[in-house]
């Protein structure tokens, strides 16, 4: 077995970078939110890999908490997006510029 910590960390960093790219590039609020979730999951992958290769369980327990927080965050975020859509009839970030003027 020569798959080590480095490979997992590289994959985690790649996924995080892809999610970051999506957050910066996309215009649809829902897809930006999905990319945020992708970044969160990439971080959990790094935590689990660290935990596994150190022989401790603290990273795994932290991932447990991250999953809980992510579930709560998705519920609140999607409720905000739905409220926004009801008020403004759009979820494209370019048209959501109420704070600009």
């Amino acid at each position: 077995m020569n798959i080590g910590l480095n490979e997992y960390l590289a994959l985690s960093g790649l996924l995080f970078a892809l999610g970051f790219f999506g957050v910066l590039l996309r215009k649809n609020t829902l897809i930006i939110f999905m990319c945020l979730e992708l970044m969160l999951v990439a971080a959990t992958l790094a935590l689990v890999a660290f935990s596994r290769f150190n022989g401790t369980l603290d990273g795994d327990v932290f991932v447990f908490f991250i999953l809980t927080v992510a579930a709560a965050e998705v519920a609140v975020g999607l409720a905000i997006i739905v409220a926004l859509f009801r008020r403004r009839q759009t979820v494209q970030v370019e048209e959501l510029n109420a704070l600009r003027n």
Binding site: M1, I3, G4, L5, N6, E7, Y8, L9, L11, G13, L14, A17, L18, F20, F21, L24, L25, R26, K27, N28, L30, I31, F33, M34, E37, L38, V41, T44, L45, V48, S51, R52, F53, N54, G55, T56, L57, D58, D60, V61, F64, F65, L67, T68, A70, A71, A72, E73, A75, V76, L78, A79, I81, V82, F85, R87, T90, Q92, E94, A98
Partner: protein
């Protein structure tokens, strides 16, 4: 065998992540996100964290992606004008992606140069459920309680957010 599986799942997961970012259709992006999460769950299995793999599939691929799909279909924003990407945004995000990838490569080279923690594989402690229970109910008891409160607060917040308030000023 394990190496081959890792590379297979890694390529699959990265491809699905690209699909999430690049898909025009929000439903397809949500489906790609689900496949990506399944790939991550199988990586957790390779890392001997069976409980977390099951939880990831249940919470993320089950609840979160279903919620996303539900909202995408509820809002139905497939129509409307398609705006092209601004040049500045595309350039900035590409530069950011390149910088993060360079950072990952630097980290990789540096770690493999020194004494890497990859050689000695520690004992898999994540396979036994009793270990999780012991940590969650002793060392991390306070965070568990706080998580309970957080879920309660999130539930109340969602109820307040999705209520209709009459006579509220519109901020258009």
């Amino acid at each position: 065998m394990s190496d081959f599986l890792f590379y297979l799942i890694a390529v699959f997961t990265a491809g699905c992540a690209v699909g999430v970012v690049a898909n025009k259709n929000a439903v397809n992006a949500a489906m790609c996100l689900m496949l990506c999460l399944m790939g991550i769950a199988s990586l957790f299995v390779l890392l001997d964290a069976y409980l977390l793999a099951a939880l990831l599939v249940l919470v993320y691929a089950g609840a979160v992606v279903a919620l996303f799909l539900f909202i995408v279909m509820l809002l139905d924003m497939q129509g409307g004008v398609k705006r092209p990407f601004r040049k500045m945004t595309a350039l900035a995000s590409t530069v950011a992606l390149a910088l993060m990838l360079v950072g990952v490569c630097m980290l990789r080279n540096r770690v493999s140069g020194g004494a890497a923690p990859t050689a000695a594989l520690a004992a898999p402690v994540g396979t036994v459920l009793k270990n999780y229970a012991e940590l969650l109910f002793t060392t991390y008891l306070l965070p568990v309680q706080i998580m309970g409160f957080l879920l309660l607060i999130a539930m109340l917040g969602v109820i307040v957010l999705s209520k209709k308030f009459e006579g509220m000023e519109d901020i258009k």
